[in-house]
Structures are given as C-alpha cells and as structure tokens.
Symmetry: C2
Subunit: 467 residues, 2 copies
C-alpha cells in the first residue's frame, strides 16, 4: 500500500493541483439522469481497482456540482476557501491527530486554545472566555443553546422556557432549539424594523408579556450578518434588554463575525463582546474549507457544566495545562478542524486577511454603483456586509410577471455560464441576491455581470427570450 500512496503523493500536483488552481471554467454542472442513477446504484467492488481508474471516476463525481468556490458564484454564502486552507488541512489530516483530548493531542489542543483566545479577544469577550471548533454554525448554535438552557432554565421550568428570534434568524436556530427540547410554541418571532433588524421595543414587549403569563424567557438569539440581507441586530440595545431580564444573549455571527478581523469595518460589530455565546464560521468569510466553525462562550465554565463527563477508559487521560475539548462541546472524537486556519493565518498574516475581507465590501458597493447607472433596476436591500438584493422592475408589468422575469434572469445567467446569482424572496417579492465575499472576483467580473443581467432582463422582459 505504501507504493500506492507514494505514487499518489508524487502525482498529487497533477491529480488535484491543476484542477484546484485552474479548472474554474464551469460554474455549475449537473449529471444526466443516467449518470446520477448509475452513481446511486453503485456498490464498492470486491477486488480493488487501479488508482488511475478510481481517481478518474472521483473527478467525474466531484465535477457534478455548484462550483461554490468560483469568483463568479454569489449564491447563499459562497465559499471563499483559499488553497492554503486546504493545504493546512492536508498536512494536519496526514497525521490524523486526535483532537478530542489534550493528552492525546497536546500540540494541536494548545493551538486550538490559543486561536480561541485570540478570536475571543478580537470579539471583545473577557479573559474568562473559551470555546472550541465545530463543523459548522448549526452545531455551534446547538452547543450554545444547550448551554443557555442549562444555565438559565430550572428543571421544572423547561416547558415554560421561551426563546426569541426574528424572521432574519437562520433556520438552524429553530432546528437547534427544537433539538434541545423546545416546542414550536416556545419560540417567539420578534418583528424586524425597516433595516431587517430585531425591533427592540417589540422584543421588550414580547418578553414582558411572556413573564406576565408565567413563562420563562431565557435566551434571545441575535444575528450578526443575516444570510438574506446582511443585517446586524442592534447588539448593544439587545444586550441591555437581556441583562435587564437576566437572559442569555447568543449572537449568530456565522457570516458576519469575520468583520472583527477587518480594522476599518469592525465597528459594525459594536456590542458583540457583550454576548454570552457567539457562533462564527471561518469557512464563510475567513477563507477556510468546509467544516471549520467556532463556538465561543463568555465564560468557559458554562459549557463545562453542560458537557463535562468522564469514563473509566479515559482514566489515564490526565488533566494538564490544556483543556480537554470533549468537556466543552458535543463531540468526543473529532478532527483537528482549526489547524487549517492556523496555517492560513501564519502564511498570509492578519494584514492580508484584513484586506481580503475588505474586498467583499468593495465588491458589493461596486454592484450597487453599477446598478444605479441603469434604469428599471431597483435596489431592494442596499449593499450591506457584502450582501445586496435587487431586481429588474420595469413599469407596467404585474407583480407575478416581474417575479417571473427575475427568476428567468437568474436561470439564464447560469445557463450562459456567466455567474451564479440566485433569487430569494424579500418581503414577498422575488429578488436577485449577490453575496460578494470572494476576493478573487475582479471589478471587471462585476461590470460584465451587471451588463449581462441587464441585457438578459431586457430580452426576457420583451419576450425575446422565453423560458
């Protein structure tokens, strides 16, 4: 087997290097039904196959996808993974270190703790803060909301506990709350203001009313960079309300948290340091490959009270200077998710990271500037945290027709391999949405794309291009 691995390693530059660095041609590729059914029905062979054959098939399988790393992919939150993140992960996973206990992985656990401390400082959390790396914000938020419940809800008040979200809150929060045992009627959706931020007076009223009804408000979930509009809830004001009622404030900063690493924009996060817990995804706007997320707690004794356990077979895993990660979260065995981030930060330096984040702001501002030069286009939500929503909105068409035109524009842009700009619904209308955080996107990319959007919208609107 050593031979196979050596051969593969020596050829790795050819196997993945060229693909990784240059095969950016296709934005989206789907298999035919036949290709898909063949994959679905396949089973592993009894006898091994040649490396060459397997790698070839592997490439086919991987090619059927949205190329979320492409500089012209703007849907959802695009991946902006730097090849350096991948490289850091390659080296780290080669050693297959065990990141579950500090005795088993002293070096990597110490580095995890140092990164967590550094990030917590950047967010303005106190020295008591702690946390860990998890697979994504869904798990980060689940970890936080479990701890919030355990810290603030007495056992006999579980059925009376109430949590507060908005319509901009990511759906992973409701999922996480339900996993922790909340029923749907225990989750309040607080209205947003015109800027898609949690309305503080509505929050206050909802809490007061629940208390009057004998319920137990325990957690308010704020969003720092919503997926749809990039909105940030008024963190300071909500922290005041949470403090007043002795509630937990969780900040879902999965998307927006990265702005803490951009000096000229970090003031946007004002108040985040008052959170009891913060979820943040380096695999979104800090250029890491998927599976690199962080959960932070203001006080690291809080997660310990929910998760610390022991077992006889761990008796020789002594406590040392470094925390045992399994006492701070859901997992025992886990990969070393943070070493890729360590590697990226060391090679790039924080000044470069700062500029790479800033670039996202500049790009969505450019989208807005270019759109404002055109007629018949409407900015639905302005450039905010590198997210912008807009639509072609010619006069004299029905609401349905305009929704349809914008949907077709999105499809046409993909079919032409120009850009992936998907639609979303904002206050009931279909919009085109761009999230421009990929620093490899050029100004010319943006100008080309806005031009193509406009041209397609006009042709579709005139009935020259049909569905």
């Amino acid at each position: 087997m050593d031979g196979i691995v050596r051969e593969a390693l020596q050829g790795l530059s050819g196997i993945v290097g060229d693909k990784l660095l240059s095969d950016q041609a296709t934005l989206a590729k789907r298999p035919t039904k036949e290709q898909l059914v063949k994959l679905l029905k396949s089973s592993p062979p009894d006898q091994g196959r040649s490396l060459e054959d397997v790698v070839k098939e592997f490439e086919d399988i991987l090619s059927y996808r949205f190329n979320v790393n492409h500089p012209r992919f703007y849907a959802f939150v695009p991946s902006t993974a730097s090849p350096l993140s991948w490289l850091g992960d390659v080296i780290s996973t080669a050693f297959n270190n065990y990141a579950g206990s500090s005795e088993s992985g002293s070096g990597i656990c110490a580095v995890e703790e140092s990164i967590i401390r550094w990030v917590a400082e950047k967010f303005g959390l106190p020295p008591s803060a702690g946390g860990q790396f998890v697979s994504g914000a869904s798990l980060a938020c689940l970890t936080a909301l479990t701890v919030a419940r355990d810290q603030l809800v007495e056992d006999d008040m579980r059925t009376k506990a109430t949590a507060y979200v908005t319509e901009e809150t990511h759906f992973c929060i409701a999922k996480a709350l339900r996993i922790t045992g909340l029923l749907k009627h225990q989750i309040r959706t607080v209205p947003c203001n015109a800027e898609f931020q949690m309305d503080r007076e509505s929050l206050r009223r909802a809490i007061t009313q629940d208390i009057e009804n004998g319920l137990k408000p325990y957690v308010v979930i704020t969003t720092c960079g919503s997926t749809s509009t990039g909105s940030i809830d008024p963190l300071d004001a909500i922290a005041d309300i949470a403090a007043e009622h002795r509630m937990w404030m969780h900040v879902d900063a999965a998307y927006g948290g990265s702005v803490a690493f951009c000096e000229s924009r970090k003031d946007l996060l004002q108040g985040i340091g008052r959170a009891d817990s913060i979820a943040w995804d380096p695999h979104k706007w800090l250029f890491q490959t998927y599976g690199c997320s962080v959960i932070l707690f203001k006080d690291k004794s809080h997660p310990r009270e929910s998760f610390a356990t022991t077992a006889d077979f761990l008796r020789d895993v002594e406590d040392g200077y470094v925390e045992n990660p399994f006492n701070f979260g859901v997992e025992l065995t886990r990969p070393a998710r943070h070493m890729r981030l360590w590697f990226s930060l060391q090679i790039l330096g924080t000044d470069m990271i700062d500029r790479m984040i800033l670039r996202g702001f500049e790009l969505s501002d450019l989208v807005q500037t270019e759109l404002s030069k055109l007629i018949k286009w409407e900015i639905v939500t302005p450039s905010n945290m590198a997210v912008i929503n807009f639509r072609f909105n010619p006069p004299g068409k029905s609401a349905e027709a305009i929704d349809e035109i914008n949907s077709l524009v999105s499809k046409r842009m993909a079919a032409q391999n120009i850009a992936i700009v998907l639609t979303t619904r904002i206050r009931g209308v279909v919009c085109l949405r761009m999230c421009t955080i990929n620093p490899q996107t050029t100004d010319d990319d943006i100008r080309d794309i806005i031009g193509a959007l406009d041209q397609n919208a006009r042709l579709i609107s005139k009935g020259i291009i049909l569905k």
Copy 2:
C-alpha cells in the same frame, strides 16, 4: 498565492509523505511546559511567514501527541486510518464541495446515498432505510435520539419520557439524551449480566415499573461493541421487548458495526437489522481518518420529520432525484465526509477490508494465548471483538497494591516506548486493556509486548522498579 500552493503541492511528498509513512518511531510525545505555554500564548502574525518556517513549526505542533495510528497503540479505540482514507480526503477537500444540498453537490450527494444504501443492506435494514455521514458517534447518537423522541413522545409527555442504557453504554449517549432535554432522573441504567450485556429481564422489569408509574418509556439504547469490553447487547431479545412496548431501539455500533463487513464474524451482529437507528464509525474499525461517522435510520422519513426545513435563500435549490442531506440531520453546511471512504473501498475492495477487520480478532486472540502461557496473569474479560482486559495478579498482595502495579506497568510500557496499553477499571479493579484493531500490528509485536508487560510487572512487583 498560486506559486506557494504549487510549490507546496510538489513538495507534499517530502512534507508529509515520509512522515506519514515512516515516522512511526514515537508512540507518545509531550511538549515541555515551556513549549506548551509558548503555543498557548501565540497569536497570528501581522505579516505572513515563509512556507518553510510554517511547515516546520506545524510539524512540531503535530508531533506532541499520542500516536493513535501506531501499530503499537492499543488504548481507547486506536485509529487504524489507512493512508488511502487520507488521500481520498485530500482529493475531495481540494474541490471543497458543498455536501449540504443535492443541487450544490449532485455527484457527491448521490455517492453518499449509494454508500448509505450499501451499508444499510449490510446491516440488514429494509429498503426504506436512509441516513447520512456525520463527524462522529456523539453526533450520530444525538441525531438518532432526537428523532426517537420526536417519533414517540407526545409533546405533553416530554417530562415523563424515560430512556434505558447500561453501565457499558458510552457516555456520549447520556450527553446526547441531556441535550435533547431529558433530565438525569429520566435515564435508567439497566444492570448487565456477567458478559457485560444488558440484562433483558431487568430491562423488562424497569419498563413495566415505569409504565405503572405513569411514565413513557420510549427508547432503549443498545451497545454493539462496548468500548471497555467489546460486549454486544442481546439485540434480538431487546428488539422483541422494544416492539412489545412500541419503543425505539437505537444501536450504538460505533465500534462494532464494522464487523458487518467481515463475512466470517458478521453473525456476531445478529439482530442489528431490527434497529430503528444505528450509529457506526468508519473512523474506528473501517480504516478512515477522524470525522467519518454514519447515522442510519430504518425509515428515512423519520429524520425528515425532525429536521426538514426550508428558507427563502434556498428557493432555487430544487429537489431532484437525490435527497437534500440538510433535511436528514443537524447540519446545513458540511464537508463531504464520505468520499474518503468511497476512495478506500474502491482502491482496496471489500475482500481486503474483510481481511483487515478479521486481523483485529486474530490479534486479540493472540494476546489471550500469550497471556495464558504465563503465570500470575488473569484474563478479566476474554478476547471479544478485538478487545481484551487483563491484569497482573500475583498472590499475597493487597487489592490496592495490585491496582498500583498494573498502573505502573502501563506507565512503564509508555516510558520505554514499547506500547501504549492504558488501564481501565472493570468491576472496581484496575486492568490493562488492549484494543487490537490496527492491521499493521504483527504477531511479533504482540509477543514482544506481552513479554515486556510480564517483565515489567515482575520487576515492579518485586520493588526493583519504583514509581
């Protein structure tokens, strides 16, 4: 940046290849306090550092660890990761595919579904089965126990729900149950029989009594390959009891599930196909790197009812032939954890995998044979599922002295860099425990190690080696 990546790729064989394949000298290495404190206090640099410097420091950090992949590492569940698993992951992560939705990753999601189907068949689950890859058994069990609760516990019975485990049940189960909202008094620990298996009559009595008390027994958690002793609960008998009371049977087969892929031993798993859910870790005994685990459901509509969600920004992610993974589990964004397993299975073939698993059984049988040739050694739990517990037990010593001798033997073996054989407690006494699933362990390794254990035990027992 391309230059750095190309350079690194071309040098990857040197960077990690030699280390990966040949640096097996050190079983365990710990940093000095100074080295550790330096790591703990470090922060990322403002300006980037050279690739060479960073890789060198990276190697230092990774070297401070238990070498869990070493053929002479037998503690916990050792890692048996094949370099092929790492290689599959390297190729897969290079493309940073998004494995959260089938539209975004059609190819990899189809392959995930095909592997899940194939695994479900091997376990004897019906065609209705489904599931997904998660990071580890902690998350797999959490996923299952959330679904079990949602399927069987009416909203107004949440506080009366009761779950059944044994002392051999892994602690991640109690953790998962608590996350889903169960309080400690809702978890019953059913006694085990002499073989460390859940005692069926005790289970039946506990359920009956809880029903009489107006409670709602809803899930029994069985273990298929316990960490301490390798024991397997009587799955068929417990499935009967679960069916009788309309309860959910979860099988934690994180460790033992792999035996389904070993023709000559798969009968050990008799009854596993009657489970409502099964957790299994390919990163334990199927030779994968960390972060490769599976949760399976008898009926794939069950997880959908707990986890299916939608969001406006996902409106263009259409349902196709392939399931959207985010509707079947806790996560939305997630890495493609399964492609490394696909790669290993394709290159090795299932016949080779079968032999690699069988080797684990042979090795622990050999440990037992070698020990039985010696005097003063006691087999505490016999070779079972590649796990064996034993102790040096000379006559005329106090119970404390014997515990102390065995603990010292363990430490001495590590200090001599001979083998990592840690201790555990079985029925109150300290035992040495070996889990022998690494197929790279040779017969000579085992004979050397048993010889060294005996020699050390005798010297320590005579007071010739002191603590």
